[in-house]
Symmetry: C2
Subunit: 358 residues, 2 copies
């Protein structure tokens, strides 16, 4: 089993844990290494569930903060092992997981080892299966078996946010809009009804749709409603009897999940609409005093998070939560995924300053 | 090798040749059986090219008629061996190939054996690979190697036409209409351009399109322009950069192939249009005196043929050609393919009457 040196620099620790592949479903090796390194520290109480590891201080502080990061990645595509690269004078660590989100996890592991007496109690969570179905997510499992571990006054997810604080997240809905028809030989089309032609007004509504920009607690969330897939047709000489449009709606956290579903059904009134996936957004939660203190300590202007992350899970449990991690989210899942070394250092310093009461 | 008894009834002969499976590419067994049976007759000169068999009388008649049928079928789907069935008091032979088009071939084989001295010279053609790409069609090959064999004053294809004469055929065009965009994560859709949304006006034009009914030489051809397939999309969280609509245009034989392609390009003006398949139609050819004599002999009202058949090949060579065969074309390729026994008999009698000078 590879050993983790938690006294190494965050950069070196990022390199080490990126070079232990941990595509969703294959996190055991990395989880074992984290378990061994964290378990030997003495100042943290460790709980393991599958490949999710929870480590807590028990200092009796007035407040508790949950700091979490997933240890799985999307599939590797000839982008491991990591490499040090330079681009326009900037130093990067390149490779799968550097952005999403092992640099964030490395900073957390280093600070978990270093900060034996932080000013708040901390619950560290490193979890599996974030990049796949929500059913498989380690936090979904943990919320079922040990909901008490989620207790806290504030939560920080180390998801890539360019080293700035990104508050809340948009909700995420997927729906299938279906049109129906009647098959016939295309040489005698008038006997049938063309389901692809029937989809024309549905696509027309999407093309004409103007998404909203919505201010929530001072941050502006951009929405979006898009066809992400379309399919229909049987053969080159058959009038098609079914066309399916997969619609993805990203909605501001001012809307509940049910309101979002109603909105989609309204947009496609008269069509057969099947909502197949629905995750609520999260309000930014930056109005809580502890969040304001955090913002002041790490600096910078908070931004809205457009993509869905597990902050929504904490938000739904009543725990204000933000994203704060190194790396550009546009490069997550990208084959040229790479994290600026300076951002790893900046996030390490920001978190340390706040947790030390600086 | 199974033996064919060409003195059997057309019904029994249909049953026998249907029960020798001959899905496109696997016609050798049936071709061998036809070759052996026809080759032993004495009054026909036989030429074989692959699994296409040509048998000619050489009586020095003033006129020559080509009578042709393909011996392949679409794939079998648990509908062989054939069965005798009754439906609403009508007797049918059920099974793959009964309609398209072994009943027609059986009538031809029986008459080829029986009519040693018809009133016109006859070129019989039984050919392979009609149900697949035109490149593979036995007549395409024969037209390249032995174009002289196509010489004639009139041609009759035994394609299913409910025992009536169906003149000419519509042309057939397939085109891909593509829309383009720019990929982006669907959480930040404004960075991309949605190719599926861009397809909305193309589908709108198809939905609004009113196909023409065109009279050609006294028969009315119904046209049709239809999306037969649509596809687009990368993943559930990606703005799609490509959408492809496959359009099938069935056009009256009054339009040339190039005019049909121009029409499709006009309908989709402003879009990326790629014509991928284009077969001209065939005018009915019923104005030729020999065609009029044929019509008078077999009776009934001539109808237009909507689907494309090899009559278009003869038409393009300057030989007036019609479809005349037992079976309902709506049941061709159907899993419940079945031919009325009475139509087999009627076509046998109609062809015999005309060829005997009746």
């Amino acid at each position: 089993m590879p050993e983790l040196d938690l006294t190494a620099s965050s950069l070196d620790l990022t390199r080490t844990i990126c070079d232990i592949p941990s595509v969703s479903g294959d996190e055991a090796g990395l989880a074992d290494a984290i378990d061994a390194a964290i378990g030997s520290l003495g100042h943290l109480e460790v709980y393991r569930d599958g490949d999710t590891i929870v480590a807590r201080t028990g200092l009796g502080r007035a407040q508790r903060v949950v700091i979490a990061g997933h240890i799985d990645t999307v599939p590797i595509n000839q982008n491991l092992p990591t490499r040090d690269i330079h681009n326009d004078g900037e130093a990067y660590l390149w490779g799968r997981g550097t952005v999403d989100m092992k640099a964030g996890v490395a900073v957390q592991l280093k600070l978990a080892a270093e900060l034996a007496e932080p000013r708040v109690d901390i619950t560290w969570m490193w979890y599996d299966h974030e990049e796949v179905d929500a059913d498989l997510n380690g936090l979904t499992r943990l919320a079922r078996t040990r909901p008490d571990l989620f207790a806290g006054d504030f939560a920080i997810l180390g998801e890539p946010s360019n080293g700035t604080v990104e508050g809340g997240c948009n909700g995420n809905l997927r729906a299938i809009v279906r049109t129906h028809g009647v098959r016939a030989h295309s040489a005698r089309a008038w006997i049938g009804e063309n389901a692809i032609h029937a989809a024309a007004p549905a696509l027309g509504r999407l093309a004409a749709y103007r998404p909203r920009d919505i201010a929530v607690d001072g941050l502006v969330y951009r929405e979006g409603m898009n066809a992400v897939r379309i399919s229909g047709g049987v053969a080159g000489n058959v009038i098609p009897d079914l066309c399916e449009i997969e619609v993805n709606y990203r909605f501001a956290p001012s809307r509940t999940a049910e309101e979002a579903a109603d909105h989609v059904r309204n947009v496609f009134e008269g069509f057969d609409v099947d909502v197949v996936d629905l995750a609520p957004g999260a309000r930014p939660g930056l109005d809580a005093p502890i969040a304001q203190e955090f913002l002041a300590a790490v600096g910078g202007e908070p931004q809205p998070k457009y993509g869905w992350t597990d902050v929504a899970r904490f938000s739904a449990m009543g725990v204000p939560a933000v994203n704060y991690g190194p790396g550009d989210p546009h490069l997550a899942h990208h084959d040229e995924e790479r994290v600026p070394v300076a951002q790893i250092d900046a996030v390490e310093q920001g978190l340390r300053a706040w947790l030390n009461g600086g």
